[in-house]
Symmetry: C2
């Protein structure tokens, strides 16, 4: 499609804009644009407006750096959450995923990325300094690392653990093991191996 | 994700707008929105602007109903194209696909859809009347049907053929057969059967 002749510059421009989105190629972009053309103008104005509003008005919580509509997000400003436990995550998607479990009552700290020399993301690009500020205040008792088990996640985990080692805080990571509902034979050997090493006392209640 | 709690109404609104696009679910929508948030504002303004411009300024050629920046598109206004041959297609994507072959020198007529009782699209929703106007002028010698070989495509083909049967015009359809580069054993039996029935004299030059 790269040498495709568009019958209209406006069409071509819209397709090119959509094709900049991750995972959207030129063909999909054209399909999306033709869908918009079939819609009522009002719907498209709402769509364009949502994008503009997103860019102009979205805020990041000044405490945990999660996306928020106010200066302090609803989690950080909730007095019923345990502010002594901080769960360190990569981004807002992880916060939403953990919130969805209804198993966590502490607060979060959103790093905004992971250390990745390949992508040019270093520690200074993440919200590590404000996390250290929280530790210095001495109110945090436990830091839970909930980062992806990728090269980048492990690197970031290790970096943070070393950097904060001198603080009197308990460091934990989320449990790795065979997913609930998974057939044992299909679990990859690294995960299965880890789940054996990290075996737990049998708990009748959990079944 | 349906009962997902978003940390921000603005974020939720943007995600919902993206999720209205065909083939984009809530998870993908969130991924796209987070991508936009990482971009510079200027890029997002350009994106929103492309959508607004698309809705406000795009035109349809008054002759062939293809998308165009002017009243008559560049194909219809080109005197070097053969205006006596009209290729009937469903939409602009088909025009672009055929133009890309560089094998066609006639003009087009874009129906804007296919007859589909399931989707509530009837003949009156398509640009059939203006096509008949073209036929009445007597300048058209051949109509090439280049519609999809789906139920809807075949229905539309048949409807148009019957409707225009009284005009002194040659009706053709694009050839159906085994795709070039395809292994014969993987061709579906309907296509393979049709390619046998419609077999052509051996042409050394085509190899």
């Amino acid at each position: 499609m790269s040498d495709q002749q568009f019958p209209s510059k406006i069409l071509e421009n819209a397709v090119n804009e959509f094709a900049k989105l991750p995972g959207i190629g030129k063909k999909t972009a054209l399909r999306l644009v033709l869908f918009l053309l079939k819609q009522e103008k009002e719907s498209n104005y709402r769509f364009a407006d949502a994008i503009t509003t997103l860019s102009e008005e979205i805020k990041y919580c000044k405490s945990c750096y999660n996306i928020s509509d106010s200066d302090i997000c609803s989690i950080c400003s909730n007095p019923r959450r345990d502010h002594s436990i901080v769960c360190v995550v990569e981004n807002v998607r992880d916060v939403m995923a953990i919130e969805n479990t209804h198993q966590y009552q502490g607060i979060y700290h959103v790093l905004g990325g992971l250390i990745s020399p390949m992508d040019g993301t270093g520690p200074d690009d993440l919200t590590i300094a404000p996390l250290e500020e929280k530790l210095k205040k001495g109110e945090v008792k436990e830091i839970i690392f909930a980062l992806s088990t990728t090269m980048e996640g492990d690197t970031t985990n290790f970096f943070l653990f070393r950097k904060f080692a001198s603080y009197d805080v308990k460091f934990t990571t989320i449990a790795r093991g065979v997913a609930i509902g998974d057939e044992l034979e299909y679990a990859d050997e690294v995960t299965l191996g880890r789940s054996l090493v990290d075996r737990l006392p049998f708990d009748k209640e959990a079944l």
